[in-house]
């Protein structure tokens, strides 16, 4: 069994000694405050506080913030609508609708690619699951919207919003196939495909 020793209040309870303790602490604190105040107001030292959002605040490149879709060198969205991000997503916030591409350059592309950003937990699994480096989590962290905001990021927004300054191009070094616009490589009109994506060979 231990004994807890409780200190008794000082016998010489004296108004002046107690008040002195408080006053001395306050004055030394105020001294520091005023010192910084005058240093910063006269502009001798830069303040760390930002006038956000007028002044931009940035995180590092590797910060996992707002998603974006990358583009190929020809400007098409790189996403092939394979649904792996939607499969990996633990919050089930990615909605994709795949379709045949109207041009010959790709076969399958996302007609719709939507991220329900309020459900997103920013885990980055979509980025890891993507086999073609089409989705990345960018350094933007601020997501602002009015009361009518739907909080669903569409394909166009994800690929080409103002902050991306014209979009991000992802260059894959290998396995980028070369395509031809020849719809009928076998010279057989009957089976010439309306579907795109023929190889030159």
């Amino acid at each position: 069994m231990g004994v807890i020793k409780v200190a008794l209040p000082p016998n010489d309870t004296n108004l002046f000694t107690m008040a002195w303790g408080y006053l001395s602490t306050i004055s030394s604190g105020m001294k520091k405050t005023l010192q910084i105040f005058f240093v910063q107001i006269t502009g001798r030292e830069k303040t760390n506080t930002l006038e956000w959002p007028e002044e931009p605040a940035t995180y590092g490149e590797r910060f996992k913030g707002k998603h974006f879709l990358t583009r190929r060198e020809d400007g098409q969205v790189r996403c092939t609508a394979c649904f792996l991000c939607a499969t990996a997503c633990p919050a089930q916030c990615i909605h994709i609708e795949a379709g045949e591409h109207p041009t010959n350059e790709v076969e399958k592309f996302p007609v719709r690619f939507e991220i329900d950003i309020l459900r997103c937990v920013f885990c980055g699994f979509c980025e890891e699951a993507c086999p073609v480096d089409a989705i990345r989590l960018g350094p933007e962290f601020a997501m602002v919207g009015g009361p009518g905001e739907k909080w669903v990021y569409t394909k166009d927004y994800l690929a080409d919003r103002q902050e991306l300054r014209g979009g991000v191009t992802s260059v894959k070094e290998e396995n980028d196939k070369h395509f031809t616009t020849d719809k009928n490589p076998r010279g057989d009109d009957l089976i010439a495909s309306d579907a795109p994506h023929m190889h030159s060979h």
Binding site: C82, E107, K108, R186, H199, H201
Partner: protein, 503 residues
């Protein structure tokens, strides 16, 4: 007395198996639950032995042998799991993947692809090829419902054999040699028959894809459910693939059975479309029963109450007529006729059939001219309550009128009824029609005074009788895509309940 079939006893993985003489090791393994990896072997087709993947070790023989073309001799010792065999699988797979484009992200087969499965099982190597892959034509529209990608093809020959042996159309062949070999159609010929999508099913990789299913959904999101195809009187056993959580179905695939073997027709593959919520009748329709009066949406209970009121106001034996299409289950017919014919004494029962149908037509494989799954069941049910079970379209007779109330069980598979719109229009000109249907179009038809939403064939339990009288069972229903939908049995029970409480 029949001669007993001679049998042979041999050992597979040190386990004794007794099989009929002439059966191959592959079949014996499949029958006894031993899985031997394979691409080109298919139980419904002949043996080709081209993929060289089903290697097994036979004791005493210097090299591995292919199981699909190996008939066991008495006492033979076969091993399917030893390291030597697994090594053979691994390198056979590498050969198959030399020119395979790895289109998995854009390939519909991903998720049910044999190459993916075996790579995860025995492969997991890094490719040793330094040369670029051979490029071949892609996305060829070689059939009405087919897209062929010759790059993904591993030349297993299954499709060529299917065309030669099952449909006997012989439209496909393998052309060129070596790594330039491609599968394709002969010049100026195209696959047009009614069994094309079977090529998609038997293709172990994604060389054939179905235009109907192309890019709609990844297969790993789909749930599979056994059912009976309602497209014709053959009653093929099928699996319906859908996403019950979004109330949408995506495709129908054959399920192996004695009725349909391994195949089904393309018409039957479209029997999922009427089940999707967006085309269904999602609520009941009620009106005050006077011709031309405004109609409104109603819940199932309101619709039943309205029908019960109407039913109480007419003389069932004289003024009530029933119009029944042969697309409902035996159990539903039983409940329906027990109530209306036996209990209420209805005399006038007509069959709702397609006037242009040719019942006796048969294409020699599966598809029959009778486009209803349960013609026989309806006949039997009619006979059971003492009515004529003759197969006869009673639509014209009914449309003459003279009935104050008509209760009609509408056909479920609307695309098999080309005259359906005309038939519904003539029904809507009658005094008061209570239409029990899945078809969402009826809400647009002003003359339909009353409607009750029905469940589709994937959403109820029951049995169909096919043209031979064989029973096909619906036993594992999905939740209904429409909340207010009921099957006929439930509707009749609810109606009987309301009527008993009223009196």
């Amino acid at each position: 007395m029949a001669e007993p079939t001679p049998t042979i006893t041999f050992l597979m993985n040190d386990k004794e198996l007794t099989v009929p003489k002439g059966m191959t090791v592959m079949e014996a393994a499949a029958k006894n639950g031993v899985y031997i990896p394979h691409f080109c072997w298919h139980p419904g087709l002949s043996i080709a032995g081209v993929c060289r993947f089903c290697m097994v070790k036979v004791e005493g023989r210097p090299k591995l042998e292919i199981a699909c073309n190996l008939t066991p001799s008495p006492g033979m010792k076969v091993y399917t799991q030893i390291p030597e065999v697994k090594e053979a699988h691994k390198w056979a797979l590498e050969f198959h993947l030399i020119n395979h484009p790895l289109d998995c992200p854009i390939c519909d087969q991903a998720g049910e692809c044999k190459l993916q499965d075996f790579y995860m099982e025995v492969g997991k190597y890094k490719s040793q090829m330094e040369r670029p892959k051979v490029l071949k034509p892609k996305a060829l529209a070689i059939g009405d419902d087919l897209v062929l990608d010759t790059e993904r093809c591993i030349l297993c020959d299954r499709c060529v054999r299917f065309e030669g042996e099952v449909t006997k159309t012989g439209a496909l062949g393998i052309f060129n040699r070596g790594d330039r070999a491609i599968v394709g159609t002969y010049p100026d010929r195209k696959i047009t028959h009614n069994y094309q999508t079977n090529l998609v099913d038997i293709c172990p990789v994604g060389a054939f894809t179905s235009k109907d299913f192309r890019f709609k959904q990844r297969v790993w999101f789909l749930k599979e459910q056994p059912a009976i195809c309602p497209g014709c009187s053959t009653g093929c056993h099928v699996n319906v693939h859908g996403k019950p959580e979004v109330r949408t179905y995506f495709r129908v695939k054959p399920r192996e059975s004695a009725v349909n073997g391994h195949w089904m027709c393309d018409k039957g593959r479209h029997t999922y479309k009427h089940l999707n919520q967006e085309v269904r009748l999602r609520f009941g329709i009620v009106s005050d029963g006077v011709k031309g009066s405004p109609r409104r949406r109603a819940s199932f209970d309101e619709a039943i109450a309205a029908l019960a009121t109407k039913l109480a106001s007419v003389d069932a034996a004289k003024d009530l007529a029933l119009l029944v299409s042969p697309q409902y289950t035996n159990e539903e017919y039983k409940a329906f006729f027990e109530f209306f014919v036996k209990k209420l004494g209805v005399k006038k029962v007509f069959q709702w059939r397609e006037p242009t149908e040719k019942i006796d037509e048969f294409d020699g494989l599966l598809y029959r001219g009778d486009h209803n799954p349960n013609t026989k069941g309806l006949s039997d049910a009619l006979k059971a309550v003492g009515l004529s079970g003759d197969v006869k379209n009673g639509f014209g007779e009914l449309a003459k009128g003279g009935n104050k109330l008509v209760i009609a069980l509408a056909p479920e598979v609307a695309f098999q009824y080309p005259s359906l719109t005309a038939q519904l229009t003539s029904l809507s000109e009658l005094d008061y029609v209570s239409l029990w249907t899945l078809n969402g179009d009826v809400f647009g038809m002003k003359g339909i005074a009353h409607a009750i939403p029905m469940k589709g064939y994937t959403e109820k339990k029951g049995t169909f009788l096919n043209y031979q009288g064989k029973v096909g069972e619906l036993f594992a229903p999905f939740p209904s895509a429409v909340d207010d939908a009921r099957d006929v049995t439930e509707t009749v029970a609810a109606l009987a309940d309301v009527l008993t409480r009223a009196h």
